[in-house]
């Protein structure tokens, strides 16, 4: 909580940490998951360069601890809504990397059947309710999901992830006001990576301590070091409990450092390369956590090595799965158009004609 927005910590070696109250298997799993996200995103970037992936593509590099800590605190009953920077979230929620990569490849086996792409991942079973690509768009939706949980008397809470710059849009105000007014079980997770695209937090928000912005709704807010997986997990647990039991929404601001440009095609030329390098080193959640685990005797070098190669393998398999999966068929173009069929809508016959024309060189 001492950490300030836009002030990356310096690269000092982290001190040892008392992990005796923790379950070692869980700690190992956190690390493994963080590494999985890291490698997944690195390979995603590579696949984008190889033109296996199209559209816009935003990576979670640097945010691994935020994501894994968050998910460690959630239960299967909970629901998650995110923005377009969500590959890590759906994987950490338990969806296999294969179908996620397949979605990025635009394949029929993808989590959104190839219809959504990188910015629009979804998995109903995992209660992963979608990546949304209009800034702020997911906020009212998540608030509504929390409304439904409360109305239907179901357990669980909703997590609504967003970026720092999203706190400047009107949907923020309306959603938080409704959530506070109606006592809805929702946590608004603000992933503060310091930037909109090239705009810093201070350049966009008149109150740059984002967790304080709940004051306009008498809503509680906290800031947490988003590069610290345990701090993140514990903060989420606390706010989750409060949301579920007392139906009190809250803001959780997780501060981290954006490793690269805004998206894979952003060359990041508005940041000083030296500062970025330093920020990356100082705020990389992986080596810090590994170091702590080693110091605490939870893992050793051999384990780290084995885990790395297992995960490399896992990501490679995801890529292979994506690569070998079938494309959606043009004949299926109008499937999922309407959930309740009605007359005078195009269907498979029309799609077949489009498919035929497309083969004819469309």
């Amino acid at each position: 909580m001492a950490k300030r927005t836009n002030q990356p910590t310096t690269g000092a070696e982290p001190a040892g940490r008392d992990l005796s109250s923790e379950n070692p298997q869980e700690l190992q799993q956190y690390y493994a998951q963080m590494l999985l996200l890291r490698r997944f995103e690195e390979r995603t970037s590579e696949m984008y360069t190889k033109a296996k992936i199209g559209g816009y593509c935003h990576l979670n590099l640097g945010e691994e601890a935020t994501i894994v800590g968050l998910m460690a605190a959630l239960t299967p009953a909970d629901y998650i809504f995110t923005n377009y920077r969500e590959h890590g979230y759906i994987i950490a929620r338990g969806v296999a990397p294969g179908p996620v990569m397949a979605e990025l490849f635009g394949k029929e086996t993808g989590v959104s059947r190839g219809r959504g792409g990188s910015m629009h991942l979804f998995d109903a079973t995992a209660h992963f309710m979608g990546g949304y690509a209009i800034v702020g768009g997911q906020l009212p939706l998540a608030t509504g999901a929390a409304y439904a949980l409360k109305y239907q008397g179901k357990p669980g809470v909703v997590v609504c992830q967003m970026g720092d710059a999203t706190t400047n849009i009107g949907a923020w105000h309306e959603s938080l006001n409704l959530a506070a007014l109606w006592d809805l079980p929702v946590i608004f997770l603000v992933v503060n990576n310091g930037y909109g695209m090239g705009t810093t937090v201070d350049e966009g928000a008149a109150e740059p301590d984002l967790y304080k912005r709940g004051c306009a709704f008498r809503m509680h807010g906290e800031r947490v070091d988003g590069t610290d997986v345990l701090a993140m997990r514990d903060a989420t647990r606390r706010l989750r409990e409060r949301a579920e039991q007392e139906k009190k929404p809250a803001i959780l601001e997780a501060v981290s450092f954006r490793f690269r440009g805004h998206s894979v095609i952003d060359s990041d030329r508005y940041r000083d390369p030296e500062a970025v390098k330093q920020g990356r080193n100082a705020n990389d959640p992986l080596p810090h956590f590994a170091h702590q685990l080693v110091l605490a005797g939870v893992v050793d070098d051999a384990w780290l090595k084995a885990t790395a190669s297992r995960i490399d393998q896992e990501v490679q398999e995801a890529i292979d799965f994506a690569e070998h999966s079938p494309n959606p068929k043009i004949e299926d173009l109008f499937d999922y158009m309407y959930a309740t069929p009605v007359p005078n809508t195009p269907g498979r016959a029309e799609a077949a004609i489009i498919a035929q024309n497309a083969q004819g060189g469309r």
């Binding site: 979804f122 509504g144 999901a145 409304y147 109305y151």
Partner: protein, 332 residues
């Protein structure tokens, strides 16, 4: 059969659907304690309670999106937007979210949501309070858009809309709320979304319209019958999906068509209807399809200017006579 107003038909059906399914809730500004600015929800909060008939703050984007999210978890919200003019602040949630969620996520989730709102003008509500935007929604795949003209259609289409698993934009009309019509007692009928109706058969000319303009068209048809002109009135009822077949079949029979619409002339609903007819009934047309629509100004407040800017029966009659003469001038 019972005679009831359009307003009563709405109120009844909303009450029935609230009673039928506990996942149905009504949401909107001033729909509860205030009883609805146009009294459509009168009495429903006292009957069903504050958790079924929910008064919201003035935050259309927020509560429309909230309803979408609630629908994704199995609720069936019916949202009132006080008038369609205020939907602009919520349109992102409807068009960028509600309309896409089922398709874009590969069919994994449904959005059973109704947004009901009155469109068009009445009195002297002026530029910001008299608009029609149903064409915008009709343009968007993923939405269904209905616009009933009679109490009977209100009931049938509202039931279908509430029970439909897709987002439905339910267009009403301020000027119709007090109009009356016959409705069967105690019958749970529904009307299919996406199907037009020939509301009056005729042989000389087809008038295509929807919502309040259908009522005007039917009146004109009745009057012109006395002059020996036989007008067929096609009531679209749904703007999306659009029932092109019914329109085209009618024009193939009458060989002439006029569209009557309350929205602005250029790029309005009538543009699609005229384009559809010329494409589908080209060889049958004896005259161009004419459009009778709103004059293209931000509606002025002054009574006479306002009146002169809105389409009405005399304009329709003039247009019908023009097409009957094979009139082909442009501009009108």
């Amino acid at each position: 059969m019972a005679i009831m107003t359009y307003r009563q038909a709405l109120n009844d059906t909303l009450g029935e659907e609230l009673a039928r399914d506990s996942n149905v809730v009504l949401m909107g500004e001033e729909i509860g304690k205030f009883q609805g600015s146009y009294r459509i929800t009168e009495g429903l909060q006292s009957e069903f309670g504050k958790h079924r008939v929910v008064d919201t703050p003035i935050a259309e984007e927020g509560f429309v999106g909230l309803a979408v999210g609630a629908a994704m978890l199995g609720m069936r919200p019916i949202v009132e937007i006080m008038t369609i003019n205020f939907i602009l602040v919520a349109i992102d949630q409807i068009v960028n979210h509600a309309s896409k969620i089922h398709y874009m996520f590969g069919g994994q989730v449904r959005v059973p949501l109704v947004i009901r709102t009155p469109s068009g003008g009445v009195g002297q509500l002026a530029a910001t309070h008299s608009q029609s935007f149903e064409n915008w929604f009709a343009y968007c795949p993923g939405l269904k858009v209905v616009a009933p003209a009679t109490p009977y259609d209100v009931k049938g289409l509202m039931r279908s809309a509430v029970r439909d698993d897709d987002p439905v934009i339910f267009i009403e009309s301020l000027a119709l709320y007090d109009t009356k019509g016959e409705v069967p007692r105690d019958e749970d009928y529904t009307l299919p979304i996406g199907v037009a109706e020939v509301k009056r058969a005729g042989t000389d000319v087809t008038v295509v319209s929807y919502s309040r303009m259908t009522v005007v068209a039917l009146q004109v048809a009745q009057n012109l019958a006395q002059e020996g002109i036989s007008v067929e009135v096609v009531d679209l009822r749904s703007l999306r999906p659009l029932d092109r077949t019914t329109i085209i079949e009618s024009v193939k029979k009458t060989n002439r068509a006029v569209v009557l619409e309350e929205d602005w002339y250029s790029y309005g609903i009538g543009a699609e209807i005229a384009a559809t007819i010329q494409e589908g009934a080209f060889d049958y047309l004896d005259a161009p399809v004419l459009r009778v629509a709103g004059v293209e100004v931000p509606l002025p407040y002054a009574a006479k200017l306002s009146q002169a800017s809105k389409p009405g029966a005399p304009d329709l009659i003039r247009a019908i006579k023009r097409v009957l003469e094979g009139g082909k001038q442009w501009p009108k």
